[in-house]
């Protein structure tokens, strides 16, 4: 059953990506709407695939790397759709869909390992993990948006205006979309971290010690994005510099995420 949902998700996402790319080149409203509709369908089947996987392992779907990556892809799609609807701008879909697909593919092509039982359960813990992954998805989206900004800005400067540039969102809209995304990330990482502390507090006797290097890393990520948020509104940084900073922040997030989770953290292996 799970395989059926995985195949349906891949099909929906692939078709949606194709339509988003076509929309970017042709600008046909109907194509864009179909792309969004297929993405919604993909989200539905992706959710069911996650649900099936969780039921099969009797634990949350993100307890292993496979599940965490799949959930990341799903939350990235959710965040993107919210931003698309809020800003009424679909051309970005062609750039975000490949990222979602890559995460979904890797998550499902990885060899399945036997599931270890989760040390911690409960709603608070589940919310902590979900919100943390949502924050990283939002930061990933802001990175994609900033890269589009930098690309479009460069093309405008060197006056190379092909078919696509006329359809991309205006630079200032891309900036606003990126800010929205970072704002979502900041709020969710704050709430998610707070819930994490509550979960630790409840399980302290059984599994956790209070200190984990991951806390420092999370604080670091928070600071990075608060600095971005602040600088992006200043005279010296607004525009391309802020976008570069946003991309730089995300690269740091990915590197640190990797290093901290794999080598230092005891309790945060995959999120």
């Amino acid at each position: 059953m799970n395989h059926t949902f995985v195949i349906l998700t891949v099909l929906a996402y692939l078709l949606s990506m194709g339509l988003y790319v076509q929309f970017l080149y042709t600008g046909k409203e109907l194509t864009g709407r179909l792309a969004t509709l297929l993405m919604f369908l993909g989200l539905g089947t992706h959710y069911l695939a996650l649900l099936m996987s969780a039921r099969a392992s009797h634990t949350v779907p993100y307890h292993d790397l496979q599940g965490a990556m799949s959930l990341f892809g799903w939350l990235l799609a959710v965040t993107y759709l919210c931003v698309e609807i809020y800003h009424r701008q679909r051309t970005v879909g062609a750039f975000v869909m490949p990222v979602i697909l890559i995460f979904f593919f890797i998550a499902n092509l990885m060899p399945t390992r036997p599931h270890a039982t989760a040390p911690v359960h409960g709603v608070v813990f589940a919310l902590h993990v979900t919100l943390s992954i949502l924050a990283y998805a939002a930061f990933a989206l802001s990175c994609v948006l900033s890269l589009i900004y930098l690309g479009e800005e460069r093309l405008l400067r060197i006056r190379r205006l092909g078919d696509v540039v006329w359809r991309l969102p205006p630079l200032e809209l891309l900036e606003r979309m990126s800010h929205t995304s970072v704002m979502v990330g900041l709020v969710t990482i704050l709430v998610g971290t707070s819930l994490g502390f509550i979960a630790v507090d409840r399980n302290i006797a059984e599994h956790y010690s209070y200190f984990d290097p991951k806390y420092i890393f999370t604080l670091f990520v928070l600071l990075l994005y608060i600095v971005y948020f602040r600088l992006a509104r200043t005279a010296a940084w607004r525009g391309a510099r802020a976008s570069k900073l946003c991309v730089f922040n995300f690269v740091l997030v990915v590197v640190n995420f990797w290093v901290v989770n794999l080598f230092f953290s005891q309790h945060h292996r995959y999120f």
Binding site: T26, G27, K28, E152, L156, R157, R159, L161, D163, V165, W166, L168, P169, P170, L171, E172, L173, T234, A235, A236, R238, G239, A240, R241
Partner: protein, 425 residues
């Protein structure tokens, strides 16, 4: 039924002739009335823009004599000698006239390939003619189809998406940076023709605030009055340049008017918010090194001309796609026309057969006095029923025919076989 088109455009007539043959709104209405009153056309529509003057009509008979009458009419209406006018005119009939109108509406016959204005002009001409009852079922259908194809070509091809003028290309570029311009501020330096084009484009895009500045304040004030702008003092750059998001300069100067230090100061004063500059002056009005400044986007006349050229090539690549759509709609219209003609032919045939039946009965029953009037009526009714039955099957088959060419051939065959010249609709 025959659709007739006589007209001239920028390809066939020099501007001097086009000026003489152009129609104002009132003239177009008067011409349409006169054409119908004189019996030259049954339905009429005059389409007159700066690049074309065309008369579309439906002729009461199937003859092409109306073209000559239309040339005479045009020559008399505009008091221009027919020999001067004739070489510039083109005549199209039926399918060719339909195709021509659809191409016009799609922007394929425009001087500026794919321009959007022509669709609005076709719509206005049609609405005016319709309101004046100058159009009938044929032209109504024809122009509704023309408006539909115009919209479809613009929605489904790239023909109309890219700007083709320097001013509109500049505005589109500004929109690439700011999005909609309705909450932005623009400053236009100069009050010449180019500045006017830019201001008109800015007003079309509902620019939030428009400032104008010119060496001659009087000229700037006239300009400002016309376009609802505000005049700023010429030369007071430090206070002037911090206001706008878009600066357009089109003045005659020997040295750069807006230098790098000047723009640098203005950028600092405006908190480095993005600034879009269009230099449309020759020699250049803005120091080219301004483009090196952070968040400054400078485009010169040369840059914009190059973009327009790229866009022209891109639009030309879209022509085959647009032509396919046009042909699709032409076929649809011809199909409709053929069905209408089929109904006309069948009605005429029925009428003709009834006339012959009446004459036949009258002749044959003349000597048969034993039939009462009631019997005669009964025989007549039976023969009518027989005629209807004989007509129904072929009529159904003709209506159901899917292939347009065959449908038209069948209609022609009925005309040739059963109807005399007098009876042909």
């Amino acid at each position: 039924m025959e659709i007739v088109l006589v007209g001239l455009n920028f390809r066939t007539a020099p501007v001097e002739v086009r000026e003489k043959v152009s129609f104002s709104t009132e003239q177009a209405q008067r011409a349409a009335e006169e054409l119908r009153a004189q019996g030259i056309l049954e339905e009429t529509l005059v389409l007159s823009t700066c690049n074309r003057s065309e008369i579309y009509g439906v002729h009461p008979t199937a003859k092409r004599a109306s073209a000559a009458a239309l040339v005479n009419f045009l020559s008399n209406f505009h008091s221009i000698q027919p020999e001067l006018l004739s070489p510039s005119l083109y005549h199209h009939y039926d399918h060719d006239a339909v195709r021509h109108l659809f191409r016009v509406s799609a922007g394929l016959e425009s001087m500026l390939l794919g321009e959007a204005e022509i669709l609005g002009q076709v719509r206005e001409a049609y609405l005016r003619a319709h309101a004046a009852h100058a159009t009938g079922p044929v032209l109504n259908r024809l122009f509704q189809a023309a408006l539909e194809i115009g919209k479809r070509v613009r929605a489904e091809t790239e023909l109309g998406t890219r700007p083709m003028g320097v001013a509109s290309a500049g505005m589109k570029l500004a929109e690439r940076i700011f999005g909609k311009l309705n909450d932005r501020t623009a400053l236009v330096l100069g009050a010449g023709t180019i500045s006017e084009q830019v201001v008109s484009q800015l007003r079309d895009r509902n620019i939030g605030r428009l400032y104008l500045s010119n060496r001659s304040r009087e000229k700037a004030e006239d300009f400002a009055k016309q376009y609802k702008g505000e005049v700023l003092d010429w030369g007071n750059w430090d206070s002037t340049l911090k206001l706008p998001d878009v600066i357009v300069s089109a003045v005659g100067v020997q040295e750069a008017l807006l230098t790098k230090p000047l723009i640098e100061r203005s950028m600092a004063a405006r908190g480095n918010r993005a600034l879009f500059l269009m230099d449309l002056g020759m020699p250049r009005n803005i120091d080219p090194t301004v483009s090196e400044l952070y968040n400054c986007y400078l485009y010169t006349m040369e840059d914009l001309s190059e973009i327009v050229q790229q866009n022209r090539s891109a639009r030309e690549n879209e022509v085959p796609k647009a032509e396919v759509l046009v042909e699709e709609h032409v076929a649809k219209f011809i199909s409709w026309q053929a069905s209408v003609e089929l109904i006309g032919v069948l009605d005429t045939l029925r009428g003709s057969l009834k006339e012959r039946r009446a004459a036949f009965l009258h002749e044959k029953l003349a000597g048969m006095n034993h039939f009462s009037n009631e019997d005669r009526e009964h025989i007549g009714a039976l023969m009518d029923e027989l005629l209807e039955k004989l007509l129904i099957a072929p009529a159904e088959r003709l209506r159901a025919e899917k292939e347009l060419r065959k449908k038209i051939q069948n209609v022609e065959a009925i005309r040739e076989l059963y109807l005399s010249d007098r009876e042909k609709p």
